[in-house]
């Protein structure tokens, strides 16, 4: 739940001059970006551009070499209860002895805090979240027996159960079937319409304009950020993806010419 009075409520997350380094080697340089409330925002960029790192820096999961992150005008620590995280699907062990319901219930732990136990309200919220992603029939299923798309929906349901104001998702559309992709998009749009902000690392450039209101283009540095219509341009894509996109374009053009 979003507290009634949020300072600077138009900005969900304010990243100021952020540099992240692994073993002193910077992987993100001087990133300045402000993310508006109530939008779907894509983070795009080539492999190794630091997309997941930016997400983790926003969550306070990696140490910052310099700069700061403010979430709804507060420090990451103060804003923890407002932030939901959906890690990459591969980041967890799907053979873990737990059913879908158990995973989704974990979303409610943040609000419970230390020591308080899961009760009926938490279970009801988890079940409602499973229903919202169309997975209530699979509540008792061991998570390893679910398909990739179903696993991703379970992750999304867990985020819903978290009931945060800002969601950070690492490739929620990766490796899912077309039906799941549509289902996930529907859920994201519902979340946005309820005033939530969703930032997602996204790989499929073709669907960016269709799915996302804003886009953050990243390649170790911030290339551009803003409304998709203004920012997601050929020029910026070329800056983000360097020569590779250019080559791909030439290749595609060559195929087109050869075919006609």
């Amino acid at each position: 739940m979003i507290p009634a009075a949020l300072p600077n409520a138009a900005i969900a997350i304010d990243v100021h001059d952020l540099t992240v380094a692994y073993h002193r080697k910077p992987v993100l340089w001087d990133v300045d970006v402000q993310v508006p409330v109530g939008k779907l925002i894509a983070i795009v960029g080539p492999n190794g551009a630091g997309k997941s790192t930016l997400l983790k820096a926003m969550l306070g999961l990696v140490p910052l070499a310099s700069g700061r992150v403010e979430i709804f005008g507060r420090s990451i620590r103060e804003a923890r209860a407002l932030v939901g995280y959906v890690p990459q699907r591969e980041s967890v062990d799907w053979d873990f002895p737990i059913d879908a319901m158990g995973v989704v219930t974990m979303g409610t732990y943040a609000q419970l805090g230390w020591l308080r136990r899961v009760g009926q309200p938490q279970r009801e919220r988890a079940l409602a979240a499973l229903k919202q992603v169309g997975m209530s029939d699979f509540a008792q299923r061991q998570i390893g027996q679910l398909s990739g798309g179903q696993q991703q929906r379970v992750f999304l349901a867990r985020a819903l159960a978290q009931d945060a104001a800002l969601y950070l998702m690492d490739e929620p559309f990766a490796g899912v079937d077309a039906a799941t992709e549509r289902a996930i998009l529907d859920v994201l749009r519902t979340m946005r319409d309820a005033g939530k902000t969703v930032i997602a690392v996204h790989h499929d450039l073709q669907t960016v304009p269709q799915y996302f209101d804003h886009v953050i283009m990243l390649n170790m540095r911030l290339v551009a950020a803003g409304p998709t219509n203004d920012v997601f341009t050929q020029e910026n894509l070329q800056k983000t993806y360097g020569g590779r996109l250019n080559l791909l374009e030439q290749a595609a053009e060559a195929v087109r010419r050869a075919g006609t």
């Binding site: 983790k56 209860a81 995280y85 980041s91 873990f96 974990m106």
Partner: protein, 426 residues
Amino acid sequence: MNPFLTSSEWWMLATASMCGLLCGVAGCYLVLRRMSLLGDAITHAILPGLAGAFLLSGTRDTWAMLTGAMVVGLLTAAGTSWLARVGKVPSDAAMGVVFTSLFALGVLLISQAADKVDLDPGCVLYGLLEFVDIDRVRVLSFEMPRAFATLAGASGITLLLLTVFWKEIKLVSFDAALATSMGFSATLIHYVAVAVIAGASVASFEAVGSILVVAMLIGPPASASLLTQRFGRLIAISASLGVLSGAIGTIAAVRLNTSIAGTVSVVVGLLFALALFASPSQGLIATWLRRFSLTLRVRREDVLGTLYRVHAESNSRATARDVQQLLTGPLGTIARYQLIWAKFIASQQGQAVLTSTGQAEALRVLRAHRLWESYLWRDLSLPVSHVHDPSERMEHFITDDMARDLEAHVQNERDPQGRPIPQSDA
């Protein structure tokens, strides 16, 4: 007649079982986080901690030992993850280097101290379950072996921590990053768990020694993970297996007059083997049975399909000989009895014929076969000569729902060879 076990043997059994309970619970964390090697590392590396605590304090006081072991246990966990991060060494190699070096250091320290004091390397390595009854303490007016009291205390603390931090432990075990992002520090919980495991190892030393304690930490949880897919049940089953191993191992060792710690560890291994073979869901026997029953089903459906083609379709290449061949051999014989039992086929003048229910079943298989042929031919553009064999395999796996979808998709009443596709009666 001798009693089943003497009083001191009962105490050995109780101590071994308590050790099994403690390690069975504590080890679940390692197995769930896929860090079993860390258990190996901790149990080996705390040897210098024990020796150091002993040399510094000059006593075998439990608290001094416990503190020394926990400190070194935490250093091992932190040191290996630091080495893996900074030294660019794979984490298993880092662990291998750290724990063997620390273990060797511990052996040196103990041999150095051995001529001055009574700390026997053999006792530390293999435990002294046989003599557990000699060293007694009084707890709440009950007199019991000191090792048992230590293990019971450690078990109590471990179970208390597990109960209190149940949800936090579950969350960190499954998704450490999410836990940290929610404000439950995964690092903190991990190191508390490591300290508990180090404590469990020390408490178990006197019972089973520093080497066999690894078996107690990893064996029962590994077996339990083959038997259940629920978090709570995993811990309960693991604890029960630990207790069971302790009890069976002690009785067997007393009867065979051999090392108790060794026998207990062998029982842990045997129970794991049993779980591996006989687990109802993931066991090898269950898997073999499932495969065998699938092979039988395929054979039965092939018989029905072939019988139908022979009797109902004039232009089929299938012959009565094919049917006969499918019904001979061990597999064919079982399939024949199953088909007769299910009233799918009957025998007429020594020849197998389809009953009406058998014919319905044959049509279902044939429908799946021809729908799949049509799909391969139309959608995948396979030549007509190539569609029969893959369909012969797929026909057994096409559910009624899939058949309906395929039918709607291919929209054809005939297969690529022009034979009619049977309609569903539903």
